[in-house]
Amino acid sequence: MQPFSYQRVADPAAAIQALSNNGGKHSPLTSGAVQVLAGGTTLLDLMKLDVMQPAAVVDITPLSTGWSEVRLDGDTLRLGALARMSDVAANAEIQKAYPVIADSLKLAASAQLRNMATLGGNVLQRTRCTYFRDVSYAHCNKRDPGSGCAAMDGINRMHAVLGTSDHCIATYPGDFAQSLIALDAAVEITGPAGNRSISFAELHRAPDNSPQLETTLRPDELIAGFTIKGRWPRSVYLKVRDRQSYEFALCAAAVALDVQDGIVRDARLALGGVATVPWRAAAAEAQLRGQRLDEALASRVAEVAFAGARTHPHNAFKIELGRKVVTRALQQAASMEI
């Protein structure tokens, strides 16, 4: 690990002031010289690997008293950025009103990591692409823009089939983000000019020509929290992986349904483990509205969800697997007793 200076801040203004040393607002947040430390489970791992080499680390955990709230007020849920994954997963109100959120958190990582990791840090978790994580590979457009992509002709079994570009096929690794994008969460962001709010779908950037740009956050901004309107008791997170537990998704589906008298009034579907960013399958959702959900419709929707998927030598299986995961998740949600 490269040497760094350590700063602990007790208020958001001090954190933003420290981050202002990151310079140009168009430089990517993730390679900034000043990095925010919360749970540390991604940052310290990548610093040990020399993938990230910040000159300064700003520890924002003292903010957690005010920034870790979980509040369900009527039909509005607010989740503070510094709430720990384990605490939110264990929250009885969340389990009842938003099973997709509770399960996406519970099925991620290990108990120890969930005790450490925060919600804000979790959505910014960086890809597990081997070629990104190992600096002895010279070709990684995310680490070193313009250097190429070793995954294209390498071992790409775990890589993405949706949202890819000719420059990067690294999979977005998280689970919780799929719940947020499915439920149309808003992201509260605080920065030098005050607070702003964006749709969660606007937070991550697909790789396109600039895989090093992973989010639309500016280098001097912090995620303060997430807000969700409406309750989604009929929702599931189905995650299929190489192991039963403690593994990243091969394919995962976040599904939320509003069903009345057997007819789908509203439907949300997001995919994990198969895309370069948290992936909302909007065209597939549209097929569900106003329909009676049966197995035939579920499998048609699953076809639509993977339309346009682009495979590489080792990951073509993800399309068939993904369709089955979507079909099963839709049926599970439809048959839930709520």
Binding site: P3, S5, Y6, G40, L44, D59, S110, N115, M116, R243
Partner: protein
């Protein structure tokens, strides 16, 4: 081997960062730990200087001078001679370094010592009551829940927390909530048995 790419390096010089940061936050010595209040104090350190750190380990304040990069794991093992906590992968993947921080299980390899000040750290050395083993330690012996023993301190710390969290209700529950502790000897069935043996005693207090 090719030169590692270096995306994190920038023109920002460390000393100028300190100067800039110190302008906005009150610089206070890191060793100024007044129980509980330390976490609310803004502090700035220089990467070139050693930090005075106080860690509360197994109920005792332990002072050390260390680099900001020092993890709780390395501080315990290399500086405080508490080698019960094991270094497996050093990347948060194996669970061998599990300790309790304020009673919650965390990975000491991904926790900076400087950031752990003001928190209570419990290691495997802090579980027993004198010569009387903790019920989970005794259960691991009774159930033969290890072979080589390297992962065992992490397994035991994790298991104690697993029970306290209420996640030892069934075999499936235990397997799911202990999945962050890897055992290359595959003593898993016996680990599950040990947790089932100890859980009622721990919950009874």
């Amino acid at each position: 081997m090719s030169e590692p790419s270096n995306p994190g390096k920038s023109a920002l010089d460390r000393r100028s960062f300190i100067a800039a940061a110190a302008g906005s936050a009150v610089a206070a010595p890191l060793s100024a730990r007044a129980a509980g209040s330390d976490a609310n104090t803004s502090v700035v350190s220089d990467a070139t200087l050693a930090l005075d750190v106080i860690l509360r380990v197994n109920g005792r304040d332990r002072q050390l001078s260390c680099d900001a990069r020092t993890t709780v794991l390395d501080a315990l093992r290399e500086r405080l001679a508490l080698t019960g906590t094991k270094k497996g992968c050093d990347h948060g993947q194996c669970g061998a370094c599990t300790v309790l921080l304020d009673g919650r299980r965390v990975l000491s390899c991904l926790t900076l010592a400087v950031a752990a000040q003001g928190h209570d750290i419990t290691t495997i050395e802090g579980l027993a009551n004198g010569d009387r083993l903790h019920p989970m330690q005794q259960a691991f012996i009774d159930q033969d829940a290890f072979q080589c023993g390297y992962c065992t301190p992490g397994q035991i710390m994790s298991a104690v927390a697993c029970v306290m969290e209420g996640h030892a209700q069934s075999d499936a529950d235990i397997r799911e909530y202990m999945s962050g502790n890897i055992c290359r000897c595959a003593a898993y069935p016996n680990i599950v048995a040990a947790i089932k043996q100890a859980a009622p005693q721990i919950l009874k207090g």
